[in-house]
């Protein structure tokens, strides 16, 4: 009852004019970056981080969260109509969505994707409302060793599920942690790796690094890209038929459940949820041969799962203070800018923010459902804008973002350096997500480990003697060592097969 009351209060808070305006801007911007290949929600949030200094906390966070789930809606539009996934989480939608468009059924494909997203997203938010406070209560029992173990577990999970080789992902996470140690030592105040540059004394800022890695690097990679070829089709009948609903209702229900649980587990992500939902539907279907040839279930399940996972993915951050990927790391940074510390006490100390954000997600999903279908024509036009007009704008917004964060041109130079690093990372197949997570949780992890070592008088056994810490360390070790025994990573076989398909 308390939860329902708080959530209703949150919806009313989110419906205040200023919050509504920011929320509207967020979902619209999210859809736009979801439509545009080459600029994802991480890049958009990174570009907007400096705005935190000027905007009210709740309204600003509502906008950032809106970008994350708005991008899921936008990604599906391009997958279905152009066969270009705006987001990685919409890759699988291309298979059946584009096939449906080819058969003249683009309308029902877009419609079911929007309805599935709305249903999956809304139910998942209700799940977050009930589960996050319970987990936060549990998190109150955590001391430095438990936190250190939990962070190592989250980092290991992200590394385990990385697309490329696991050792490369670990290397990136360690590199991120090294970057986090640049600046004044948190305990002794001694400068580390500053090379006498004043701009490095406060550490390498998250904002210029992320804008460089996700914004500038994307531009550098896509410099030679052209606008996608649009498949010319008349979009009619956006409302799915009775038969479409009959075929899609169970995939939507299963996609919601699967997406919710996959998203809530630290390290698993939205992309995994979509692949798993698709694989599950194909397995359960009486006519699996139709998958890949325009089966509506192949659109409904992954599109539902990606929104459900996108919403439940906030549970580890909001209840335990654990960022689990690039986007959650950025929101973690945005919360810190406003003096809000994500963790077990977050819901208790800042209920208006927590419930306000959840309420805004329900409103935002409804706005997206109403807004998105009529705006499809506009999104197609956006896709046709030549890249040579877009890239100077992305670069310019990046520079403004990096500069206004501190008012220092040194941060613009840091952004440029990380833009170049990001470019080479992509060329040599190093993933940026573990590095960003390493950079964000590096200082927290270092403090937790150092405090644990002081508590235990230098005995590393402390991480294995306390039950909660031992559980997370055991799980992390299992993930790290299991590929040595099985020579495969769990779930990767499914992903590879589907990617081949």
């Amino acid at each position: 009852m308390d939860t329902l009351y708080s959530l209703t209060h949150g919806i009313l808070t989110a419906a205040a004019p200023l919050n509504l305006l920011y929320g509207f801007a967020g979902v619209l911007l999210g859809t736009l970056v979801g439509v545009l290949p080459g600029l994802g929600p991480a890049g958009a949030i990174a570009l907007l981080l400096p705005l935190a200094l000027h905007a009210p906390p709740l309204a600003y966070l509502i906008m950032l969260f809106g970008i994350t789930y708005g991008a899921q809606y936008g990604g599906s539009t391009t997958s279905i109509l152009v066969n270009i996934p705006g987001e990685a989480s919409s890759v699988i939608t291309c298979l059946d969505g584009y096939a449906m468009a080819r058969q003249g059924r683009a309308g029902p494909a877009l419609g079911i994707a929007a309805f599935g997203s709305f249903i999956g997203g809304t139910l998942s938010i209700l799940g977050v409302a009930y589960l996050a406070p319970v987990l936060a209560e549990f998190g109150l029992r955590f001391g430095p060793p438990e936190y250190a173990a939990l962070m190592l577990f989250g980092l290991t999970a992200l590394v385990y599920l990385a697309h490329g080789p696991m050792d490369k992902a670990i290397l990136m996470a360690l590199f991120g942690m090294l970057l986090a140690s640049v600046g004044l030592d948190p305990v002794t105040g001694q400068p580390r790796f500053t090379f006498n540059f004043l701009v490095l004394r406060d550490g390498v800022g998250l904002t210029p690094v992320v804008i460089g890695l996700f914004g500038v690097a994307e531009v550098l990679i896509n410099l030679r890209s052209e606008a996608g070829e649009i498949f010319q089709t008349k979009i009619k009948g956006l409302l799915p038929t009775r038969q479409d609903w009959k075929d899609s209702s169970m995939p939507i229900a299963r996609g919601t459940l699967l997406g919710f649980f996959v998203g809530a587990i630290p390290g698993l992500n939205v992309v995994i949820a979509t692949f798993a939902a698709y694989a599950l539907e194909k397995k359960l279907s009486k006519h699996p041969e139709k998958f890949g040839r325009g089966a509506i279930e192949g659109v409904a399940a992954p599109e539902t799962a990606n929104n459900a996972a996108s919403c439940s993915g906030w549970i580890p951050l909001l209840s335990l203070g654990l960022p689990t990927g690039s986007v959650t790391s950025l929101i973690f940074g945005a919360l810190l800018i406003h003096g809000l510390v994500p963790g077990p006490l977050f819901i208790k100390n800042s209920p208006e923010i927590f419930w306000g954000v959840l309420g805004s997600m329900i409103i935002g999903n409804a706005i997206l459902l109403i807004l998105n279908l009529p705006l499809i024509g506009l999104w197609i036009k956006v896709l046709q804008v030549p890249y040579y007009f877009l890239f100077p704008l992305i670069i310019l917004f990046g520079i403004i973002g990096a500069y206004t964060a501190t008012g220092n041109t040194g941060d613009v130079l840091i952004m440029i350096v990380f833009g170049a690093i990001g470019y080479f990372m992509r060329k040599f197949a190093f993933e940026p997500a573990p590095m960003v997570l390493g950079l964000v949780i590096g200082p927290l992890l270092e403090t937790a480990i150092r405090r644990s070592m002081i508590m235990s008088k230098g005995d590393f056994g402390i991480f294995f003697q306390r039950p909660i810490a031992a559980f997370f360390m055991g799980a992390a070790l299992l993930m790290l060592l299991s590929p040595l025994l099985t020579r495969r990573r769990l779930g990767h076989e499914i992903i590879e097969k589907l990617e081949e398909q």
Binding site: P50, L51, H54, D167, K168, I170, L171, L174, F175, M177, L178, S181, D185, V187, T188, Q190, R192, F193, V216, V219, L220, L223, R224, Y388, F389, F391, P392, L393, I395, L396, I399, I400, Y403, T404, G407, T409, V412, L413, M415, I416, G419, A420, Y423, K427, F428, G442, E446, I449, R450, M453, I454, S456, K457, G458, D459, F460
Partner: protein, 152 residues
């Protein structure tokens, strides 16, 4: 494999350097870790992974990976974009946001995207003006005015 050897060697040298610097910062003892302790552990981890990849790269006698990464073909464009941003960073305080933005966008459109001046200049002017109005006037982002300070 040659590519793998070069990349792993880079990381190995990097880890040696950071380990050495971390050691100089002071590792202290396990029950009271010093400022170099955490970066030392991270650098050693990077070194171990790089060494293992390097050994693997040297041991496997696979043919040289001749697949191109496309870096050489786009090096001019990439360097041009980076040079534009770097010049912007150094000139921002002197020239100011409005002028710098106009020059950057015009440079990108004319020299990187090979558009005509007749397309580049109006677009650059529009972007500079609109972004000034949005960020400077509306959001009060306090961007440098530089040479055009007298306008305010």
């Amino acid at each position: 494999m040659k590519r793998e050897i070069i990349v792993s060697s880079f990381w190995l040298i990097f880890s040696f350097y950071v380990s050495f610097e971390s050691y100089r910062l002071g590792l202290s003892t396990a029950n009271r870790p010093g400022p170099g302790f955490f970066p030392f552990i991270a650098a050693v981890g990077i070194g171990l992974i790089a060494a293992s990849r390097l050994i693997n790269g040297l041991r496997v006698s696979a043919p040289d990976d001749n697949s191109t990464l496309g870096i050489a073909g786009e090096a001019g464009l990439v360097l041009g974009v980076i040079a534009g941003m770097t010049a912007y960073a150094f000139l921002l305080d002197f020239l100011g946001f409005l002028l710098c933005t106009f020059l950057l966008v015009a440079f990108y459109l004319r020299l990187i995207a090979a558009r005509r001046w007749t397309a580049a200049l109006p677009f650059a002017a529009a972007v500079a003006l609109m972004s000034h109005l949005f960020f400077d006037v509306l959001l009060k982002a306090e961007l440098p005015r530089g040479l055009l300070d007298w306008l305010s």
